[in-house]
């Protein structure tokens, strides 16, 4: 089942196109990795898929997932580094999308929150201060928050950025489990090519505002786009 479709979609800031002519489909249960250099338009694509930024041409259509049902793990902001909040307060805020204007959490919200914290192994940290957690723990708390909002689709913007190899591997395994066991559709922006190749089912490679490669991960290494990044880099 197609969950997300881009048809000739283009995105622009102040009239300058930063992405143009995107055509691809994401099926339910896919694990898509978005790769590309800095400035290739990855973050813009994520904003477009989250419907935070409308395309200037073409269309982005999402079926079967309402606006509040997308789980999103944004890049960490500077303000969060010294933010006084308990892990549970952070995770609970993932339920807000499901609430109306006057948002008070119900018992059901709290149990969804606790369940997701257990799922990611951060339940014991629920009373701890978010800023005092390690990088890996913070990322798992934020992922638990994303899961509180997500029904079918998780969008992750560089989830492993700034983590040490052990913590990022652990995070990748959690994401893989969510994809395999819970049938969660994953869209992940990543700079980590080897991680992307190891875990994803599909690769989307952006270069100079254009789609360079879209297809199964298995076919990527042999493609012209993949050749530049996989194992044959002159500096590698």
């Amino acid at each position: 089942m197609v969950i997300l479709r881009c048809r000739d979609a283009s995105f622009a800031y102040d009239g300058n196109e930063v992405l143009s002519g995107l055509n691809f489909e994401i099926n339910s249960g896919d694990y898509l990795c978005v790769v590309g250099e800095n400035g290739s338009g990855k973050s813009t694509l994520i904003k477009g898929l989250l419907r935070l930024k409308p395309p200037c041409a073409g269309e982005v259509s999402v079926s079967g997932v309402a606006a509040g049902e997308v789980g999103y793990l944004p890049q960490q902001t500077a303000a969060q580094k010294d933010f006084p909040a308990s892990a549970r307060e952070v995770v609970l805020s993932g339920r807000l999308g499901a609430r109306g204007i006057l948002a008070f959490y119900t018992k059901a919200d709290k149990s969804v929150c606790d369940e997701n914290m257990r799922r990611l192994g951060v339940y014991d940290l629920r009373g701890s201060c978010f800023r005092e957690l390690s990088g890996g723990q913070q990322r798992r708390v934020l992922l638990a928050r994303a899961l509180c909002a997500a029904k079918k689709l998780l969008i992750l913007d560089e989830p492993a950025a700034g983590l040490d190899p052990a913590a990022s591997r652990e995070l990748y395994l959690i994401i893989e489990k969510l994809n395999r066991q819970d049938k969660m559709t994953i869209i992940m922006v990543s700079h980590d090519i080897s991680g992307a190749l190891q875990y994803s089912s599909h690769i989307l490679h952006l270069n100079n505002s254009r789609l360079l490669y879209f297809g199964k991960t298995a076919g990527y290494a042999g493609s012209a786009a993949g050749a530049g990044l996989v194992g044959r880099r002159p500096d590698a």
Binding site: Y72, T77, D82, P84, A85, E89, S93, G97, A103, E132
Partner: protein
């Protein structure tokens, strides 16, 4: 001491100052938590200068200061928020431009007509004598509205403060809540400005939040602690200003400074205690 406090409340202007001041301190400290965490502390400062300019204009045109200042400061709040979000002029520079600009215009307006007199001095440094009974009623209504809105939207305000992009992505209208914060801040500043003074009102927003963040580790405890600290500092400051005939606004700020350093010391104390415990174990 207690007798002096009762004596203090027997003056109608002191009772009025107590009611309005307490409400404004609560509003400012609650909004302050979000503003400080969002790195918007200087918006309060900018708005109070805009408020000064408007009060000066109101004096010149013989208009009601409260009614004239509220809409202008609200408009300025929206403008400053936009500046901080996306603009050619960087947020902090934009705030400085607007704040100093309106201060200068205010001073020009006053010097064209009356010259620097006691009114202007009061606007800058605050006075508790300026409140009429009607002002108190209006202030009480507006401040209660600010408190009610804050409590009703507490969870949304947390979400928008902690992570705006996530809040947007999960279907929360972050722009709406940012505007709400701006409007509430504008109202609070206009209400508190005449008692605290245009130059000091923003400290009511920044100090209690910054103080409670020394020790508190959850958003809820920071919120509650900063409201309590703000109320306590206000009462201390008001009493001190009555007992020692000191300027009210400045006394309250000094009480806040003291609270800040006490919390810093407590934090250092808990750290040392933890370290000795760890090394002993």
């Amino acid at each position: 001491m207690l007798k002096a406090l009762f004596e203090m409340l027997s003056y109608p202007f002191m009772a009025r100052a107590l009611v309005v001041g307490l409400l404004v301190s609560l509003c400012a400290s609650l909004l302050g938590v979000s503003l400080v965490l969002k790195r918007y502390s200087m918006i309060g400062d900018g708005l109070s200068h805009v408020g000064f300019g408007t009060l000066a204009a109101a004096t010149v045109f013989n208009a009601s200061p409260l009614l004239m200042a509220a809409p202008v400061v609200m408009a300025a709040a929206f403008l400053l928020l936009r500046l901080s979000e996306n603009s050619q002029v960087r947020g902090d520079a934009g705030i400085a431009l607007i704040s100093n600009g309106s201060l200068a215009v205010g001073i020009m307006l006053i010097s064209l007509t009356t010259g620097i007199n006691i009114d202007v001095y009061n606007y800058m440094f605050g006075s508790i004598l300026t409140m009429s009974a009607a002002d108190v009623a209006l202030s009480a209504v507006l401040a209660s509205a600010v408190l009610a809105v804050f409590v009703l939207f507490y969870n949304k305000i947390f979400a928008v403060t902690f992570d705006e992009s996530f809040a947007r992505a999960s279907g929360t209208n972050a722009g709406l809540y940012n505007s709400l914060l701006a409007v509430l801040t504008a109202v609070t500043i206009v209400l508190g400005m005449r008692m605290m003074g245009a130059l000091l009102i923003s400290s009511l927003i920044i100090f209690p939040a910054a103080t409670s963040m020394r020790l508190c580790k959850t958003f809820k405890s920071v919120t509650i602690c900063s409201a309590s600290v703000s109320a306590a500092c206000f009462l201390t400051g008001l009493a001190a200003s009555f007992l020692f005939a000191a300027p009210t606004g400045a006394s309250i700020v000094v009480a806040n400074i003291a609270a800040f350093f006490i919390f810093c010391a407590l934090k250092a104390g808990t750290r040392i205690a933890r370290r000795t415990k760890q090394s002993g174990a």
